[in-house]
Symmetry: C2
Subunit: 157 residues, 2 copies
DNA sequence: CGATCTGACTTCAGAATATGAAGCTAGATG
DNA sequence: CATCTAGCTTCATATTCTGAAGTCAGATCG
């Protein structure tokens, strides 16, 4: 069992594995749009602004990993088509998306603010991503966290 | 002012701007390592496992955007060198990192668990990324959020 | 004082990935 | 049965990444 992070193999790092699924160029932007209700190939293509070849690849990959699923739909006067919807697994990336948006709102927004606001439906206050612990202590800051090797920590080869 | 997301320009989207800074391949993995105490060029290179050319580019970009800063250090018997440390702005990506790790811990970990554990120093409970609102209602789920165009929303051209 | 070592890069050729445009396909519709 | 369209594929070109080799400057060694 490695004693510190530099000696620990990153082969089974869960951040790394997450990024292998959603960390490619465009993937998180597709999920941003999906979380805002976009579902169709052409809407993704035009709104996100990526090439069709890459879009088809990314959607395939997100479906294969269970983050999106295809659902048949039919508009009157058109044939059956498939749209892409977030699964539970996909929606579980919502806190990460809000956390990225929150950072961008603070450090990268236009002076007037962000182009999209996400608020609590009940009270109208803006959302925040915070870190708490299993006993609801928090919000926590990095110095309040303790990091240790986990059960699958293996030494770097 | 656009009425819905599909008609809204993504040019000033804060998620997109965040990903332009940290969404390239390797960037978030470098920040993962930085948050775990890695500071030196060669340690990043060996532990993260990317090429030196790309590492130099990424570090330059992260320093240019104020996420990392270089600090001179000197080990006895060596010349002065520079190490890379997270700034406040860089540490503010911590909730996003924890949120990505949390998703990976749930959906992409080895059966035994993750190779790294992050717990509350005081009570030992694992950390969680949760979404709350400014009045501390929460944790919130996607259906409890309301999304609207923000102050800088512009129509798509 | 010249030779060697080391950490931190830079350069470069070849491989992988993205872009933009054109083409294909299968069910409507006229 | 010819045309239209959303949803892909294919392909040539451009960008980005990889792996290896080379550069540089300030130690230390002999």
């Amino acid at each position: 069992m490695p004693m510190n992070w530099l000696e620990t193999s990153t082969e089974n790092c869960t951040v790394q594995r997450t990024l292998e699924l959603v960390g490619e160029k465009w993937s998180l932007l597709l999920l941003r749009d999906a979380m805002n209700g976009v579902r169709r190939f052409d809407d993704f293509r035009r709104h996100v602004g990526l090439s069709e070849a890459v879009l088809a690849n990314r959607l395939r990959k997100l479906v294969a990993s269970g983050i999106l699923e295809t659902v048949a739909y039919r508009e009157p006067g058109s044939r059956t088509r498939r749209e892409y919807r977030l699964t539970r697994k996909g929606w579980d990336l919502w806190p990460a998306m809000i956390a990225l948006k929150q950072w961008g709102d603070r450090y990268a927004a236009d002076p007037e603010g962000p182009p999209l606001e996400v608020r609590h439906a009940d009270c109208g206050e803006p959302l925040q991503a915070v870190i708490v612990c299993g006993k609801d202590h928090g919000p926590l800051t990095p110095p309040q966290a303790r990091t240790r090797p986990g059960p699958s920590a293996r030494p770097r080869t």
